[in-house]
Symmetry: C2
Subunit: 418 residues, 2 copies
């Protein structure tokens, strides 16, 4: 069978499976997840063997040490995958939740009820744990999942999906509920992205290049996660201890993630008190500081920030600092330069804080807390399928609920339209 | 200025206007809507004069009588536009609604709050009332609106938008909140559809061809309204009076709209009692009936339905009838052949009704009511910007709420991530 037929058949089978999954009880889905977790543990030797082959090829193909590390499975990482599935079991099932229900004057009762999205395509790079994780989240929300992992993890992903589908079958769920595109031919992705008859949404997980390529090729809606160019604004009325703690955390706790701070704005009234000790602390933490002219007037030894610096997501221990005249300037700067993902104000002033929260047009806006909390787990979703930088459907951290849509159920007793 | 620059500048101005509108009070937005309504009434002679020119050109270009009728403004239709805006004033403002709020163990309070989508592009055909209607709904939900009407209504739409923007200015809102692409060059649409930096969503209103063309060209998410191939299933346990009333209404009350019934399924046990009187009633109402073999066994004079009939949205007084063996067959048939917009069961049986509501994968699923209620007004939304056949973001009738997204406001007192 050629590649195109193979992918189309998978998508069609997924659509059929999705129809059954939509009305599968939470109990049955949880049972399948528990059996999957047990199977991952039981078959760990098979997984490790498949992974060893991928790692060997990867080494031969000159993968970097970091990529090899991400690719490598260990008993511990398999245990983490299994535990991840068990955690999903404990999350409430979003399917069937009544979002709203009301009665019309003519007696019709209209209920808006959550239902699965249908078929979810997930395209991802390297880490094989995404395979189990995405399959588990998709399944719990009643969706059929089509996975397309990176070619470097081809055998590992295949082995994981084999284990999962066997477990689904054992639990009486359709094996087509979790499928892997078993091809390293890039064309397979192109074919998948055109199956809008069968696939309801595509979630790419990876770098900006991957997401752009997927978006360009796709006739299916894509949930995008573009860059996180996050700001913190230290207001004139900031509590300096909080400002220090929050900004240091936002920059240094995990600088390579999307919700880490890239630009710091400081109100002019507080800059000369805040910046000297803060820059010292940053530098002790290994951060390279770049500053606007006014910043460099206060801490002369820092590098001059260029125009490009304000718009660069370094994902590294680099911070650009700008002194601003006012809250208005800070808000304007963030709305113009930020990526709309996560921005914070540090202030004890009620009106300034309220204005910042209202006027900053970002998925997550913070008062007196670190931007690092933009994360499904930290939001209490119990899991995260990704963080959306789209405005439609899902915005910000996505949990199980964001893997659902809704339908309206209308209860009548003979109503007709006049 | 060339076409491309003109459109890009409009989109950029809309983005800026949207930022201001996002925090504009409901009061100010309502004031602008009331002034717009008053201005439409006051300037009716200008609107009628512009419209007369469009109608004359249309006649010259050979527009059909139906299209000319849709295009023609009258004092009464202008009054309806003005009243339409006043009705929007009375609707609750969706912006600022707190969808949910919760406290995390670390003391962070997270609120999910509705905010405008941003910039909404609306591409539509003929009826000039859409101009005022879409502008009003977009504005009330805090969005900037870019309108692209049909070229046959070029002068009329221009005159309406002139009146509206003057009224916005009077009310102190940015005139760029409502803009019209003033070009009959089709390329202008192509340029608009590539402005994903500035425009957040495209809503095409018109035929399937328009929607497909827009979707193919757009790098911006498109809310689609494809066909409505709606079914009613008359169960073995149906109350025959209700069945008669509901199905007749679904077929004949307004056959040319998307929520009218196209296919009727009847359980075999009830077919011989239901079909003879029902087909007679249908035929008296001018409906052409086509039937499966078993239907024709009961009412032999009806035309044989072909395979294509089950998948055709006639939008006309034509109905295809199929006798089915079981509820399962009905559900399978509807999920396979329907368009997922609106489907109904007529039954007094609890379990069958419950199964139908759960298993039919459509935006609106009815028990004992006409599919004709799939409509924003009938749902109690007070207005309708369209009906979505997408599964993401909005599904089914769209009111003001569907013109919003959300953001998270996070209130802390110094929290940092460990």
């Amino acid at each position: 069978m050629d590649l195109e037929h193979m992918v189309v058949d998978m998508c069609q089978a997924a659509k059929t499976a999705a129809r059954g999954l939509a009305t599968t009880s939470s109990q049955a889905k949880n049972e399948a997840l528990l059996k999957s977790a047990a199977a991952l543990r039981r078959e760990s030797q098979i997984l490790l063997a498949a992974n060893a082959q991928d790692v060997e090829s990867g080494r031969g193909n000159g993968l970097s040490a970091a990529m090899l590390d991400r690719l490598t499975l260990t008993e511990e990482r398999i245990e983490d995958m299994a535990k991840g599935l068990e955690i999903i079991v404990d999350l409430p099932d979003p399917v069937g939740e009544t979002v709203a229900m009301w009665r019309r004057p003519n007696g019709l009762e209209i209920g808006q009820v959550r239902v699965p999205l249908g078929v979810v395509g997930i395209i991802y790079e390297s880490r094989p744990n995404v395979t189990a994780d995405a399959a588990g989240l998709g399944l719990k929300a009643g969706n059929a999942v089509i996975l397309k992992g990176g070619s470097e993890a081809f055998r590992t992903n295949g082995a994981i999906v084999d284990v999962l589908t066997a477990a689904l079958g054992e639990a009486g769920l359709p094996p087509a509920a979790v499928q892997l595109v078993r091809s390293t031919d890039r064309k397979s992705v192109g074919v998948l992205l055109q199956q809008d008859r069968f696939v309801d949404v595509i979630i790419p997980r990876g770098g900006e290049e991957l997401i752009r390529a997927v978006t360009e090729q796709s006739s299916i809606p894509v949930i995008q996660h573009f860059s996180g160019l996050c700001h913190t604004y230290v207001d004139a009325a900031a509590d300096l201890d909080k400002a220090m703690r929050i900004t240091l955390n936002a920059k240094t706790q995990r600088p390579w993630v999307c919700n880490a701070m890239e630009n710091l704005l400081v109100h002019q009234e507080i800059a000369s008190r805040f910046l000297p000790p803060f820059v010292e602390t940053l530098e002790q933490a290994g951060v390279e500081v770049r500053g606007c002219e006014r910043t460099r007037h206060i801490v002369p030894h820092v590098t001059a920030a260029t125009e490009a610096d304000w718009q660069t997501e370094y994902l590294d221990l680099i911070l650009s600092i700008k002194v601003v005249d006012s809250l208005d300037e800070a808000i304007g700067f963030i709305n113009d330069n930020g990526s709309g993902l996560a921005d914070a104000i540090v202030s004890e002033d009620y009106t300034n804080t309220r204005r910042f929260l209202q006027e900053i047009d970002s998925a997550t806006v913070y008062a007196n807390a670190s931007t690092r909390f933009t994360d499904g787990y930290e939001f209490g979703f119990g899991a995260e399928i990704g963080i959306s930088t789209n405005r439609l459907h899902a915005r910000g951290p996505m949990g199980l609920r964001e893997l659902t849509t809704y339908k309206y159920l209308i209860y009548g007793d003979g109503q007709v339209r006049e």
